[in-house]
């Protein structure tokens, strides 16, 4: 009975929604191929596990950065394209402090403050790492958050707020302008070269045994997990349990009603920039700590993936941003099993499109907004 029902349902789907059917067939084929590869030894279990782990790390960075974007979207009703460059700005501010604390007295002050634009002052040379210089890393993380908050408030006060009643499109295009201005200001001040911020020196790793090989987990991976999961739980607590968080969700639901209920909406907007900005700065710092290089367009390049994650998760939902980030990260990292590494991001976007075909409003749409 059960089997026949399933087959029948399958036949109905195949006839009524051939696109859906095709996606399921393709998905099933990939799973079979993966299992076959694992069974025959064509794909090592440890390789798959390493890819998934790498994907989770990537997903955590994207998810963390996505929360800030999603928050400002749901409460202010506009997609802030400058968000990616807020990430970069936070990263440079934070790493400048980390360099300064680590190398103070031994290296040229200017080189340290500018995050070593010349290759003789790299993070590896001065020995930065969460284990070797934990305080410098922590200070950098906090400064990254604080600097991004200041930047977000400043831009809001002088650019977005005067335009708040002009509608989403005006704000969106303005934010693209802010993005370019910020990016090339960063490139002008800090130089446009790519530099290495950390290496294996201060960042010991363990190789965990996994079936037929090992999976490498570094101390920076662990730091990323601790910081991002901690912040995500903190945001969850804030939104669900605190008065401010509830007011933020109320405002995301219905701004006019929030105003007649007596919620001070401008103050909530400011708090949104503070919390969203802080998370964005943290994400920028953690991105650089994890990938161990920094460049003036890091945030901009990440922004498309962040948008993909946030849209896939259901724009406006922070849980959607986290879930979307993890899916994008894991897909991008595991797709190297089937496609050339140059196509991994394209694969992530393809999956986003497929998810949206099934759920046009995103995975978490309408749930726990803000």
């Amino acid at each position: 009975m059960g089997v026949r029902d399933t087959v029948n349902r399958g036949r109905i789907v195949a006839i009524e929604r051939p696109d859906v059917f095709l996606v399921w067939v393709l998905g099933a084929a990939l799973v079979v191929d993966l299992l076959w590869g694992l069974a025959t030894g064509g794909i090592a279990f440890s390789t798959l596990a390493s890819n998934v782990w790498d994907g989770i790390m990537r997903g955590l960075v994207i998810g963390l950065a996505g929360i800030g974007l999603s928050m400002t979207y749901s409460i202010l009703n506009f997609a802030n394209f400058a968000h990616g460059d807020y990430i970069t700005a936070g990263a440079f501010a934070g790493w400048s402090v980390t360099y300064l604390i680590t190398g103070f007295g031994e290296y040229d002050l200017g080189a340290l403050v500018l995050v070593g634009p010349k290759s003789n002052v790299t993070g590896t040379i001065i020995g930065i790492g969460v284990v070797s210089t934990p305080l410098a890393v922590l200070a950098g993380l906090l400064v990254a958050g604080a600097a991004t908050i200041a930047l977000a408030l400043l831009v809001d006060r002088y650019v977005y707020r005067p335009l708040r009643d002009e509608g989403g499109i005006t704000l969106l295009i303005t934010s693209i302008g802010v993005a370019f201005a910020l990016r090339y200001l960063i490139a002008f001040v800090f130089d446009s070269s790519t530099r290495t911020t950390a290496g294996t020196t201060g960042n010991p790793a363990v190789r965990l045994n996994f079936v037929d090989g090992t999976v490498r987990v570094s101390s920076h991976d662990v730091t990323l997990v601790v910081v991002s999961v901690g912040l995500m739980l903190g945001v969850h607590y804030l939104l669900q349990r605190t008065k401010l968080g509830k007011a933020m969700r109320a405002m995301a639901d219905n701004e006019d009603l929030a105003r007649v209920t007596g919620i001070p909406t401008e103050r909530v907007v400011r708090s949104t920039w503070i919390i969203g900005g802080g998370l964005t700065g943290f994400a920028g710092f953690m991105l650089v700590l994890w990938k161990e290089t920094i460049r003036f367009n890091d945030g901009w390049l990440l922004l498309l993936l962040i948008f993909a994650a946030v849209i896939m998760g259901g724009i406006g939902s922070i849980y959607g941003a986290i879930a979307g980030g993890l899916i994008i990260g894991i897909v991008a990292s595991t797709s190297v099993i089937w496609v050339p590494s140059g196509l991994t991001e394209a694969t992530a976007f393809l999956v986003m499109i497929l998810v949206l075909l099934f759920r046009p409003e995103g995975i978490f749409s309408g749930r726990s907004t803000a």
Partner: protein
């Protein structure tokens, strides 16, 4: 409950009916509208006494809702003045007015759908330091279904329950005056009576009510006093029963 005796027949009560003594709310010669220059109300006069139940009726586009919104600072003020509890509130913003003891329940979209029932009520008391437990209990006593569904998301409630929640939220601050914009709109016919009963109880407990209603006959039957507005101006003012019985009002505004 009305202690302001309307002067004579319908003709005389076309005047504001505002007496020299203190009313809880006095709207005097108010011109109001939206945006820069869209004027809806012309020289509207109204008053509500303490604990009184007043309704505003009139044809579509008469400015009923606008008149009520002007009290709560949601319109562009263009002339006249509004005094509440001895204080001039003309031109104040809603977030200031709510502190003075006026609650407002919009006609539609009047709950936060993704917040739980309880969180909606908590938001009603946002301006207070702490959520007042006695007010919360009072709302739950009045609307037991809300306590049952405390944890449920407000968006999943039925229309009638959402209307109760919206009123409950406005009652969290125990206002002296409650503004209700078409509380029966969108309700199933068998729920409309129930809704009016609840409003009666709220009023019996001492809260003055200023209500706009499309369901004019029922509203006039229930209230102490009614205003008929047309084209943004006062037309008639009298006690509810007398307006219902008035031939002219029936002909023009109540469909015979």
């Amino acid at each position: 409950m009305s202690d302001a005796e309307p002067a004579g027949g319908v003709e005389a009560s076309r005047e504001s009916g505002i007496t020299e003594g203190e009313h809880l709310l006095t709207v005097r010669d108010v011109d109001a509208g939206y945006g820069e220059d869209l004027q809806i109300l012309t020289s509207v006069n109204m008053f509500v006494d303490e604990g009184e139940y007043v309704t505003i009726v009139g044809p579509n586009g008469a400015g009923k809702s606008t008149a009520m919104k002007s009290v709560f600072g949601l319109t562009t003020h263009m002339g006249g003045n509004i005094v509440f509890d001895g204080q001039d509130i003309t031109g104040l913003a809603p977030e200031d007015i709510i502190h003075l003891g006026i609650g407002y329940v919009p006609q539609s979209d009047n709950v936060f759908p993704s917040l739980s029932v309880r969180e909606n009520l908590e938001m009603g008391a946002y301006i207070l330091e702490e959520v007042p437990q006695d007010a919360l209990e009072a709302v739950y006593d009045r609307f037991p279904i809300l306590e049952e569904r405390e944890e449920q998301r407000a968006g999943t409630l039925s229309g009638g329950q959402q209307q109760m929640l919206a009123m409950g939220r406005a009652l969290m601050l125990d206002p002296d005056l409650l503004l209700l914009d078409e509380p029966s709109a969108g309700l199933a016919p068998d729920l409309v009576d129930e809704m009016f009963d609840r409003i009666d109880v709220i009023n019996d407990d001492g809260t003055a009510i200023l209500m706009v209603e499309q369901n004019a006959k029922e509203a006039l039957r229930r209230c102490d006093r009614g205003y008929v507005l047309a084209q943004g101006e006062n037309r008639y003012m009298d006690d509810g029963q007398r307006l219902l019985e008035d031939e002219e009002v029936r002909q023009q505004f109540l469909g015979g």
